[in-house]
Symmetry: C2
Subunit: 351 residues, 2 copies
């Protein structure tokens, strides 16, 4: 229909789904990904299994990548970044920089799928001891271990006897300026807790939380499963300090259900770090001149009844580039964004 | 491309978005809605304002309805139900019953957008006193009052001085068999609490909750707004009984943060009722031979990476027909389902 391809920026779950969808609708698409490989965070951050159904993350992402292979409508540029954009849809000129230098491409519309980055727990606050203590790790570090096939104390390489998760690290936290809930960390912590208990039946696992936000089917798919089948201990509480005593990590805080202070030794502490807009998301906002919403993600317009249109006509966004998103959100939004992009071109062609 | 239209069943937010999207992609679509008007629950259940941005629900839905008007690709049948289906996509024969009798139509694919129904708090448990006490109402009854422009004690017509919300009525409840979290009730209760405080600055408003599931931006858009600006009181607790004393309703239970029993008189109690699959959803599952997932909603296949495909090729589903969904979910899924339906037809045409 249009001669110029739709540009999809970002090769994670949302970007892969957006590209597949545009091609399914019969339009050309070019997918630009900064990394040398496709797959986004599930691959780059070595996720073990996807929430909630525990599918192997590498296999799942490979299936999405394979679905693009051999399609004449699809062009893929890995190791490349969009470094400039001029004009307006349906006549955008974008400059793409890669290993082979720079090229300028004509594209019709753009779908920004540049996602999130994991909060760095050492950046703004030292209270969690992430950079001081080997046995304080993040959800992401835990994924990497689980993917490698086990769960060990980083300091000793031995099986831990007591592990705890601390929720809302870098989320729901005004002191550091992150005034949002990152939506998925409760589910991912429960998923990892289940995996740890599978590897280490003798290890006690605790989750310190403010609210367990196990919305929808996650409630019984992972929350009750963790609590009842896997005997994970959920403690409503606020952690105020993490220190070291001997070779254990000591978590201090308040058990708000029991109304008493807690001070518990742990072998490993897992910080449930939240989502922030990725560097790529902020870069694309600048390059495509897209306003950010109040939390710093790309703003969509139209409230809950329009989830993928940005302030600029013909420029769409999907997934965690516009705010905390689970995989289902990212995939649905990517499909919707592809529909909007192609629908926009069809409307132009009809008028 | 295809001569036969795509069938969309259900005229709520998801169905309206799916129909608009199919037509935007250049395919014919027929939208079948059981009620005599379009708009779904926001209209039929008289919602006041949409969560989280407080847009007038009637205006928002009218905008979606208007967007379909005058499009040659769109046919609308209100007051009609699908009563039979034969064959397989892309050659489905569906029987539609309406005021003018029955007709059989050839359609290519179908998108089921038949949504949810609100849990009936008197059906399985009498503990909440919904059918006994006038001043015990549901979130839906409250919407109706707020839409009419105020919030009164049903028993007296006077302004209430104390109102409480009770969360998770018909959700997270094994006794009644509803083992899921309905996802949106925390947000809607906060939204209504804000509206009540706007109408009645002298009224104290309480929310009894297990976990406040204010995911993503709802955290500060409505939760902190309710708590800080509007001084709504959030009490973590379990309600065990609602009784009457004099002309007040007494809520008995346990404040689990303070670890003590509570017994508080209220002028109005609002039950935050959850989502169940609607009758229409269960009907369509039977007629189109679609398996249900373990909670009784229509099953989608492919886990988090495929949110709208059912077990049957060429039959898609979107919104709360497949599980608890907020408006954003419904809209994104509807766009994605339209993309999948049209993509399916395009692929057939190419091969």
């Amino acid at each position: 229909m249009s001669d110029q391809p739709v540009l999809v920026v970002g090769g994670g779950p949302a970007g892969l789904e957006a590209a597949r969808s545009v091609a399914d609708l019969g339009e050309k698409v070019i997918l630009v990904e900064k990394a040398d490989v496709l797959g986004g965070n599930p691959i780059l951050a070595s996720y073990a299994a996807l929430t909630p159904d525990m599918e192997n993350a590498e296999e799942a992402m490979q299936r999405m990548i394979d679905a693009l292979a051999g399609d004449d409508l699809v062009t893929i540029r890995t190791g490349s970044t969009v470094v400039g954009a001029e004009g307006s849809a349906p006549d955008l000129k974008v400059k793409i920089a890669g290993a082979a230098g720079e090229e300028t491409l004509d594209v019709s519309t753009a779908i920004i799928c540049t996602g999130f980055q994991h909060f760095d727990p050492g950046r703004e606050t030292q209270m969690y001891g992430y950079y001081e203590y080997d046995d304080v790790i993040t959800l992401v570090d835990a994924e990497r271990m689980l993917k490698a096939g086990g769960f060990k104390r980083p300091s000793t390489g031995e099986d831990p006897k007591r592990v705890c998760f601390i929720q809302c690290v870098g989320s729901r936290d005004r002191q550091i300026g992150n005034q949002w809930c990152s939506k998925v960390c409760c589910g991912i912590a429960c998923k990892e807790a289940i995996e740890i208990r599978d590897f280490l039946p003798d290890c006690k696992v605790f989750v310190f939380y403010i609210d367990m936000r196990m919305y929808g089917f996650w409630e019984d798919q992972i929350y009750w499963k963790a609590q009842e089948e896997k005997k994970v201990n959920f403690i409503r509480g606020i952690v105020t300090e993490i220190t070291k005593r001997g070779d254990t990590v000591v978590v201090k805080g308040e058990d708000t259900t029991m109304g008493r202070p807690v001070e518990v030794p742990m072998d490993v502490v897992v910080l449930s770090v939240g989502m922030e807009p990725s560097e790529g998301t902020l870069e694309m906002a600048k390059i495509f001149d897209l306003p950010l919403e109040s939390h710093g993600f790309i703003e969509t317009v139209g409230g809950p009844l329009n989830t993928v249109c940005t302030a600029r006509e013909g420029i769409f966004a999907a997934g965690a580039a516009v705010g905390p998103a689970d995989l289902e959100d990212s995939i649905s939004m990517a499909g919707a964004a592809a529909m909007k992009a192609v629908g926009y071109l069809r409307r132009l062609a009809r008028t």
